[in-house]
Amino acid sequence: MIKRFALIIITNICMIILSGCGDDPASIGTDILKDDLINIIEKDSFADSLTQSSSYFKRVLPLEKSSTLLIGRSANVESSILMKFSLPMPDSLETDLLNGTINVLSAKVLLVQVYSFGDSTASFDFSVHSITSKWSNNGFTSDSLAFLNYDPLDVSSNRNYLNDDSLEFDLDNQLVLNWLKAQADTNIPADNGIYLKPSENAQKIVGFLAIPILAVSIEKNGAYGDTLRFTTYSDVSAVVGSVPAASSENIVIQNSVEFESKLWFDLSSLPKVAKINYAELTLTLDTTESITGSNYTKYIRANFLTDSSSNSLDSNLTATISVSGAVYKGEITNLVQNWVNGTDNQGILLTSAFLGEGAELLSFKGSNSGDLAVKPRLKIIYTTKK
């Protein structure tokens, strides 16, 4: 009996092994299944003349999260910097400050340059002013400048580049001593920091790392001397910009200022059941109107607009548009799929990749361009069932 059941099991196992001895599926039978084939359709705004529109607008952004501090004047942009230093110190020093036995021998601010916008050889200078009104970098924008009060007296001197990257200037010793005393005595009104304002003859914008260093040399009536180093706890750029001198048919994106563009394609001809396999947006850069800085991110973002009147967007739906030569190109499949799925097509919001970094001005050929070949172009591949 055992042998015969072993025979059954062996036979079953042989069938399992045999069942695995087959070829991979091939095209045999495709004609029989022709009703099941998937429709693959290519749509091209260039060839299919999809209706489109574009425009640009200015959005005032707080720049407190920017990694660079911009100052200067170039093209349509003017930028200034506000900073307040954090001044922690030992208790013994605070006591000496309150006793009036501390002298400030020097106060130097060190800035590390990482960026420039405009002619790098152009003149550049600025003045430094003591701020007399309270401010916070949280939410501070270019519009906030109108409410900022500062002493017109320039409290800086010896503004010099130590090398290609490092700029140093002296601050008024008495001003810094007052800051230190205010830190030691809460009865003394706290300082409001300094305002770095570009001079009238500045013809470029310079970007510094948002980690300014304040080096203060002190002494106690000849008893001891020391150099204290402080950094900021608040710093922000205030970038003011007028409308760029762009052709009327163009749309622009400019960092920090901040100009952004809206782009809309009529996709009502896409079937509701379509699966979007690929959607590619192509933008043609107008190099004659575009200005870039010493270094910048070589791509922009296409964002999903949820309301084109308030310019609000869905931050979860975004795509990267990269540059190659004078053409920006990127995949926006997820945006198009959402429109097909029924989300109202309010269009695309084109922004710089990192908001508040640099002052690049990118001018693109818009929907009103007379040359079809350079208009914004949307290519879509989608599939549906027959």
Partner: protein
Amino acid sequence: MIIKFFFKILLALSVSVPILAQSNSAYTRKGIGDLVYSFSARRQGMGQLGVAVPDADFISTINPASWYIIKRTRAEFSLEYSGISASANSLNKFYSDANFNGVVFAFPISSLYGISGGFGIVPYSNVSYEVVENIEPPPSSVIGNYTLNLKGSGGISKIFVGTSYLLFGSFAAGASFDYYFGNINYTETIEFGRIGRLGSIFTKQYSPKGFGGTFGIISPDISGLRFGLSLNIISSLSTDTIAISASTLDTDTLSFGNVNMDIPYRLNAGLSYNLNKKFLFTLDYVFQPWSSYKLNGLTSNELVDLHKISTGFEFRPLQEPGSTFWEQIFFRLGFGFEKSQYYLNGENIQQVSVFGGFSIPLSIENTLDIGMQFATRGTTKSSLVKEDMVKLNIGLSLGEIWFIREEK
């Protein structure tokens, strides 16, 4: 004894049940796929049908009237290997799979009245295909190369419970109450060769369920000759449907609902002739009007009425004391011709089959059954597919005496 009986069943099921894959034929996309006439290796060996054959040691699912002669509690199940060599457009491929074919039980209740009970689960139809095609659009196309994969799977199964009864004049009658259920899935997938192109998947699923019945009669033995008739009817099956499209970005339900699936009746008629209880000859005919098949009220112009005719022969050695192992083996042969339900591109798909098989006794009442089918179906004309098939069916037929009152 009962425990031993179930041990045998579990032993066989433990080997068989995990294998549920199926063969590969694009024809099964039409209707509800290939029809399964008989789950068993025994019937496979002699033409699959045998409507007019009462058999004391075999459970027929085609005609429940045949159960009237069962003398032991019986259980049967089988496993089928299927190999298909498919040809089309100068291309030839071989596909193979194995498939658990069902399990049935039957037990005698009253020998005097020919009352026996039976129940089981068997497949009614199989859908199984996978076609892959690589497409190369012109280089100028932004689409790029892509691969289409069209796949179908599933089928309809039947759970039945029934009984037989010996009527006046030794006519046997039988009926089973059937419950039909299953899932049939059709999936189309597209994958692109170029980076950045997202693939998409379209899936359609049908889940029919509903009731039916099988009714049959077998005439008394007139000098070894019998005729049999059975009718299988299925109510309109309530079918849940859902169509889904998906990509890596999202999944959408395109449609869902409930529709009716109307599977036409199947009429089986046959003759059997038993000579000296050793030689059995059968001749059977099956008719099923697939032209009236409807899904959601719509007929298909790719389905026509099915006609199948088959003939079979079985040599059954008499059980005599002192017989050797080889002298106890049953042998079977069969031949079948089928004008199938498939009608594509102006061609009715026809199938010719040759059958063979044997049964090896494991012990009294227990046999290991082997059935084979060699068939050719279809044509390479009209962009169709020619299929040469081999099917190997291995089954166990187990019998035990139950419900015997012990003498005091």
